[in-house]
Symmetry: D2
Subunit: 342 residues, 4 copies
C-alpha cells in the first residue's frame, strides 16, 4: 500500500482527493493536515465521507508526513514552495496541486502570483504533470507540478494542432468556461449562490494566472513562443470546464484523424466523432477529457471543444493519475469511475 | 457472473442502472432493450458511457432476455405487468423498478394508476424490495417490486417510530421534496429548465401515487391503518429527495438511541448525530440514506429528516442491492461508491 | 416627493429597496449610507443600476438623514435599535427591515438575538408592519417593524384559519423553504454556489429566530398562545419562499370561501382557486403573496401553500407598502410591477 | 391608446410581451391568439399575470386582428409569412419576432430554415428592427423583422468596430452563450432541467440559423462580405446572452472612445468603463445591452463583451422598442424597468 499524506484538505480539491483516494485499492491515507481545523473529524466537515473516512485533520506540526511515500499539497498558492522542500529532502515524493512549481520562469511566476518564490531550485527539478505530454518524466519525478484546470483542458485541446504545425500559433484563442468550484471553497461574495446562480460572466480578461501556464506549455510544444488570447468565464455549474478553442489552419489535413491518432493510447482522453458537442456533465466526477473537432462551413477556422471536470482531470484525479505513474501502478487504478449523469 | 438484462433503458433509471452495473464486479450486462431506439449504441445516447459500455439497444422482440439470470424493468408503469410474467415463468428472476407490483390491493392500484392490472397473481407473489424491512423474503424472491423514491425516504425515516408504537400514527405528515430527475426523462413542459429552475412548488397535494404505497408500508409495520398527509414538492436539484417527517409522540423515549439501534447493522442507512441536518448532496450518486432526529424546543412533535438520491437508493441502487441479496452477494457489492460532493 | 434615506444599502435588501424606490413616482432618494463603502457609487457595486441611480454611499456620520421624511434601515440586527431613536426624536419616521423592533417581549428578543436591547421603549411604540393585519396602526406609526420573510409568508397563510378558530392551534406546523438570498450578501461558506446549488437541506430545526416572531403574531391573532413547529429549509433558488402549512381542523367549513373573503380587498394577496399549486416564480420580483388551500383526501388535515418573494413582500416591497400607507399614498404606488416569469 | 394584437402568445416570447405590454401606459391589448389553447384564460397558463391580464386566448379565425393598430407575431418560424400579409394589406402594422422576414436573400433563408418562403415580396419591404442601426427606417415601417437574440448581442457588440474599419473583418469570432429560455417553451429532452442544469455545452457549431442573419447585418455595415465564426453555447441560466467577440485590429485607435461615442445617444446600450465584465444578470428582465471593451496584454486582439436579456432586448423588449418608434412614442415608454438583481 502506498502511504499518502494530504496537506490542506479542507477545500474542494482536498475533499475530492479524499473521495478518490479512499476508494483507491493501493492507497492508505496516513494523514491529512489543516492548521485551522486540527482535531476535527474529516467526516464532520464532509458528511459524504461519514463511515468511510475515519481520519481527523491534524496540525501540520504534529502530522508525521515524513513517513509517507507521497504527499499531496492541496493548499493555496505559496504554501508548497515553503513546506515541500523539507519533505522532498527526506525522500518523500510530492505532488503539488497549486501553482508553485508550474512556471519555470521565476520572474514570470512572481509577476503573476505577486510574491517572491521561496524555492526556485525545486522549480527547476519539478516535472509538469500532464501525463499525455510528460509521462516518462513523471515516472521518476520527485516533485510533480500538477497542471491547473484551465491549462489541462486547453492544452489537451490544442496539443495535436500545435504539434502538427498546421495552424497559425500566433493568434490562438481559448474561450473557456468554468464551474464555480474552480474558485475554491473560500467565502467570497462573488462565489455566493445568489451572485453566481442564474448568471454568466467573463472575468480576468486582462490577464488570468493560467495564461502564462498555458502559453508556456503550448510554446514548449510548438518550439516557439505562441500568441494566445485566453478569456475565462464563470458558468453556473458546480464542476466542469468547457474550452472552446479557435485556430486558423495554415495547411489542410484530416484533423479528426490527427486527434484520433494522437490520443489513440490515452485512456483518459476521448476523441469524439467529428462534429460532436461534448457536454461537461459527460465527464462529471470522472478523470476523462472529451474532445471534438469542428471546421465550420468548411472554412479555415478550426474549432476544438474540450471538456474536463475541473476537480478531477483538472486537479485531484490528474494528481492521482500522476501518483499511479510515479509508483508504477496501472494509470486507471482508482480512477475508473464512470461519470455521473444526469 | 450474473447475466443481467434491462428492459427500457433510455430513461434516467435506465442509465443509472447502466452506470452502476457496468462497474459491478459480478455482473455481465447481456441485453438492454428499447422499442424506439433499437440499434442505437447506448453510448451515443449517453456519452458518459463512451468506451465503457459497448451495448446497443435491442428491440424487445429479439433480445434474448430468457438467457438472463435477472431482468430489471426500468419501464413506465404498466409494462412489467405485461412482460414480466413470461420471463418469470421461464425461471428468470425479475426486479421491477416501476409500480406494477408494489400495491397488493389491486383495486387500490387500479384506482391510482388508472388501468386494469394485467397480472394480479404475480402481485401476490412479489416481494416489496425494501431490504431494511424485507431482507429475508428478498433472498428467495422470484419477483421484487422495487420501492418508489419517496416511499424509500419516507418509510426509512418513519420505520423506527412506527415500529416502536411511541407516536400517534393517525396524523403522520410527510413533507417531501424531490429533485427534477424524479419526473424522468420525458419531454414535458413542467420539467423544462426554464420552468423548474430558480423555482419551487408543491404538486399533487390532492393525492400522489406514492401515497398509497407509503400508507400500505407504514400500516403493515404499525399493524393497523395509519393516517398520513403526504405533500410532494419539486426543488431545482437534479438528484435527491429530502423528506421532512412530523409525528406527535405519545410517550417519551430516547429516540436517537431508538434509531441508532434499529439501523445499527444497516450499511446503507446512516443515523447522524442528534440535531444534524443531512443535505441531499451528502448522498449524491450513492446508495446511502441519511437520517437525523429532532425534537424542537423539547416539545411533543418529532421532526425526522431523511435524504436519499432518488436515482440510487430511490431506484437503481436499491434494485441492485436487492439483486445482491437475491444472488447471495455482499450487499454493498458494486454499490460502495462515495457520494460526489461538491 | 417623499425624501427617503437608506441606512445600510449594500446587502440584497438594500439593492432591492433601491430598485423599487428608484422607480417610485413619489419618492426622492436623498441618501444611502455604508460605513465600509463610503464614496463608492451605488452603481459600481450594483451595475444593474448604472445610468439610473447616481448616488454614492455616504458615511453615516456625514449623511444628512435628519432631512429625510422616512429612513429605511436595511442593516444587520442590532444597528437600528442604536441609531433609529435619534432620528425618530428628530421627527423622522423609520421603517426597520431588521428584527430590532419586531418582538415585544424584550427578554425573548434578547434570548434569540443574543444581545441586550438598546431601546426597549421604542419596541413598545413600534408597529408591526404587516399591512393585512395592522393597516390602520401603520398609518400613523412613527416606527414600523417590518416583518421577516418567513413570518410574512407563514402569517398570511395561517391568518384566516387562526382568526376563524376552526383549527387546532396547539399543533400548527410550518414547513418553509427559502431561496438563498434570504441569507443575505454575506460571504459565508454555506451560501456558496458550490455548497447551495444542486442541494436541498433543512437548517435551524432546533430553533430559528423567526419562530418567536411567527408565534407572537399568530398568538395575538388567536388570542391565546399557539403551538408551532417551524422547520426552515434552503432551496437552490435566488428569491422566493414557499411555506407549506399544516393545521388540523376542529370544525368543518368552506375554507376556500373563508380565505377569499378574508383577502377580498387585499391587493397584494392572491387566493388562488382551490387545489392550486402556487410556484415561487409566479411572484418573483413582485410584492404579491399567493395562497392555495387544500384538504387532501377530504381528511381533517388542511394544507395551505403560501409563496412570496423574500426580497419584496418579504422585505423591501413590504417596507415600501408600509411607507405608502404611512404617507397616504395608494398602497400599490411603485409596487405594481408584474412578476418576472420565466 | 395603441390597439395591440399578439399572435401565438403561449411561448416565452409571448408571455414576456404580455408582461411588458400589460404595463405599457399607451397600449391596450385587444387580442391574443392560440390555436391550441383557445378559450383558456391567459392567467391560468401564466399565473404571474393573475389579476392583471384578463384576456383569454382566442382562435386565430375569430380574433379580430384587423382592428389592431399593430400585431406582434410570436409564432414559430414560417407562420408570419403566411398570416402577416393579409393583415398588412388591411393596413395593420406588423412586428414579427420570428425569422420570416430577417434574411433578404430568399435562397439563403430557404436553405437555413428548410422551407419555401411564402412571401418574398414582403421580405423586400420589411425593415430589420435593430433601432441602433435602422431607427429612421423603422419609423415608417409597415413590417418590422425583429432581430434574433444572438444577432442583437453580436451586432451591437461588433457594430462600432465594423463601422470603423479598424479590424480584420475576414476572421471575426463570436463565442456566444445563451440561457435556456432561448430554446423556447417547447417540450424537448435537451431543454429538460435534468439535462441542461449543472451542465455546459456548445451546439450547432457546424451552422446555426443566426449565423446568416449576423453575417448579413455585419456585411451591410462593413459594405463587404465579412467572415464570421459563430459558436453558440447553452449555459444553465434562464435568461441572458453573453457574447464574447474577438477581432484582430488592423490599426490602433481609442476603442473605448469609439464605443462611447457611437452609443452616446442610445438609451438602451450601456458602454461600461474599459476592462469591465458585464454579467448577464445586470440586464435581467430589462431592455438594456451592456458592452465592455478589452485589449488583453496590449496585443492586437480586441475582446468585446456584450450582454442582453434574450427575452427582452433579444425579443419582446426590442419589439416594443420598435413599436414605440413606429408610433412616435418615447423609445423608453413601458421599457424603463430596472433589471432584477439578484
Amino acid at each position: 500500500m502506498i502511504k499518502v499524506g494530504i496537506v490542506g484538505g479542507t477545500g474542494y480539491t482536498g475533499v475530492e482527493l479524499l473521495r478518490l483516494l479512499a476508494q483507491h485499492p493501493a492507497v492508505e491515507i496516513v494523514a491529512i493536515t489543516s492548521r485551522g481545523d486540527a482535531g476535527v473529524p474529516v467526516s464532520s466537515m464532509f458528511p459524504s465521507l461519514r463511515g468511510r473516512v475515519g481520519l481527523k485533520f491534524e496540525d501540520p506540526s504534529v502530522a508525521n508526513l515524513e513517513a509517507c511515500d507521497v504527499v499531496f499539497f492541496a493548499t493555496p498558492n505559496g504554501v508548497a514552495m515553503q513546506q515541500a522542500p523539507g519533505l522532498l529532502e527526506s525522500g518523500v515524493r510530492v505532488i503539488d496541486l497549486a501553482a508553485d512549481f508550474r512556471i519555470t520562469d521565476i520572474a514570470e511566476w512572481e509577476k503573476w502570483y505577486g510574491m517572491q518564490h521561496a524555492s526556485p531550485d525545486w522549480v527547476a527539478k519539478a516535472v509538469y504533470g500532464l501525463p499525455e505530454l510528460n509521462r516518462v518524466a513523471i515516472q521518476n519525478a520527485r516533485l510533480v507540478a500538477n497542471p491547473g484546470c484551465y491549462p489541462t483542458a486547453v492544452q489537451l485541446g490544442f496539443m495535436p494542432l500545435v504539434e502538427s504545425g498546421l495552424v497559425d500559433t500566433s493568434h490562438l484563442i481559448a474561450d473557456a468556461k468554468s464551474g464555480v468550484s474552480g474558485a475554491g471553497r473560500k467565502a467570497e461574495v462573488s462565489s455566493l449562490f445568489s451572485e453566481a446562480s442564474d448568471n454568466f460572466k467573463a472575468y480576468g480578461v486582462s490577464g488570468h494566472r493560467h495564461l502564462p501556464e498555458i502559453r508556456q506549455g503550448l510554446s514548449r510544444i510548438a518550439g516557439t513562443s505562441v500568441g494566445l488570447t485566453f478569456v475565462p468565464h464563470l458558468t453556473p455549474v458546480i464542476r466542469g470546464i468547457h474550452a472552446t478553442l479557435y485556430a486558423q489552419m495554415t495547411e489542410d489535413a484530416d484533423f479528426q484523424a490527427l486527434y484520433e491518432s494522437r490520443y489513440a493510447n490515452e485512456l483518459f482522453v476521448d476523441v469524439m466523432p467529428a462534429k460532436s458537442h461534448p457536454d461537461t456533465r459527460s465527464v462529471r466526477a470522472s478523470n476523462t477529457c472529451r474532445i471534438a473537432i469542428h471546421r465550420p462551413q468548411g472554412g479555415d477556422m478550426l474549432v476544438i471543444l474540450s471538456v474536463v471536470d475541473n476537480l478531477v482531470k483538472g486537479a485531484a484525479g490528474q494528481a492521482i493519475q500522476n501518483m499511479n505513474i510515479m509508483f508504477g501502478l496501472a494509470e486507471t487504478e482508482g480512477l475508473w469511475q464512470l461519470p455521473v449523469l444526469p
